[in-house]
Symmetry: C2
């Protein structure tokens, strides 16, 4: 869809732009200059203009950017105009936290099923209305359901073990919370959230 060759650094910044623009909209602000946005976000105005221009001229000389328009455009770039089917693998506390968070659903990320080695263990085999299936049914489930994203909230070993099943099942992306890297073909994207590494980075910064 949009141009290739966008650097990872820029992609990482897009959701933050999106967040700030959402706040501006809530505040009823209709237009914003790169200079003003730079003040709020603590980045340079130059960088904002560079970043946004990679995707096309969203601004207007002498005026700035229309907040609502830019918000919508960045949303499209991020793929938030589409909706996604998700499954969560691992019904532990973290899996429950993610499964029951409303914010994702609001943005079109629909959690369709939860899988766990031991489904009976967790709250009557459903979390906020989403059914928990035994992990051994995953393969069969993916044969009959088109799933875009699998969320992994299981231990590292299980995550590696389940990955081939997920890949085989046609999932396009893996949101990985396990403390391991995953081996997948190029057709599948892995986005990892390594909480323990984040905490270690904090520990480093506190000490230096």
């Amino acid at each position: 869809m949009e141009s290739k060759g966008i650097s990872k650094a820029v992609i990482n910044r897009l959701p933050r732009y999106y967040r700030y623009l959402g706040v501006l909209m809530d505040q009823g602000i209709e237009r914003i200059s790169s200079a003003e946005l730079s003040r709020r976000m603590n980045v340079t105005a130059s960088q904002i203009r560079q970043d946004l221009n990679l995707f096309g001229g969203f601004g207007q000389q002498g005026y700035g950017y229309n907040v609502a328009h830019l918000y919508e455009e960045i949303g499209k770039i991020l793929g938030l105009d589409k909706s996604y089917s998700l499954i969560v693998i691992g019904a532990g506390r973290l899996g429950q936290a993610i499964s029951s968070y409303f914010g994702f659903e609001k943005r079109g990320f629909r959690i369709e099923a939860i899988f766990d080695r031991n489904p009976d263990k967790y709250g009557g085999a459903s979390i906020r209305g989403t059914r928990i299936y035994p992990l051994e049914d995953l393969k069969e489930y993916l044969k009959h359901n088109r799933i875009d994203i699998a969320v992994l909230t299981v231990p590292a070993d299980s995550a590696r073990a389940v990955t081939p099943v997920i890949v085989e099942g046609g999932v396009r992306g893996i949101w990985n919370f396990a403390h391991t890297d995953l081996d997948v073909p190029d057709s599948v994207t892995v986005q990892s959230v390594h909480l323990s590494e984040s905490l270690m980075q904090l520990s480093y910064k506190i000490n230096h």
Copy 2:
């Protein structure tokens, strides 16, 4: 302690080195060359040697690196030889997930108290033995307890509201899970985990 001026990119990689070295130790591997580690981690050997050398010569020409020694040294650099007192603010599912995760405690991150606007709501006012206090007691609590790290698992508004109290209370670092940036003095470090931004990045990558 260690030299200043280490780039953010390097700091972000350190925990990953640490993780891989831990795995090597579990596998009983005693020595490793930058070339072999580079193969496993999918980074260049050059980068590994550059990174490690910022902190001193941990390797030995013709031999490589001693796994156990390097593991310990990186642990020290990350501050994992020390122990930290934590409080979790927000006893929702995410707060519960973090409070009940054993892995952090194992590394010396002790959760000493949990705070919530409504402590009675959650499992008999304690989570895995850690007591849940009402949020209004936070200020007083911090007067009597030296806390290193505050974990924020509350909504954005509450996170911003509670931040001055935390800062005033002498906390050194904030592990922020709220969907907002936080304004703190230089003496306090904020490490943010923006889950929704991570999911948006995944969404972008799936589509491009």
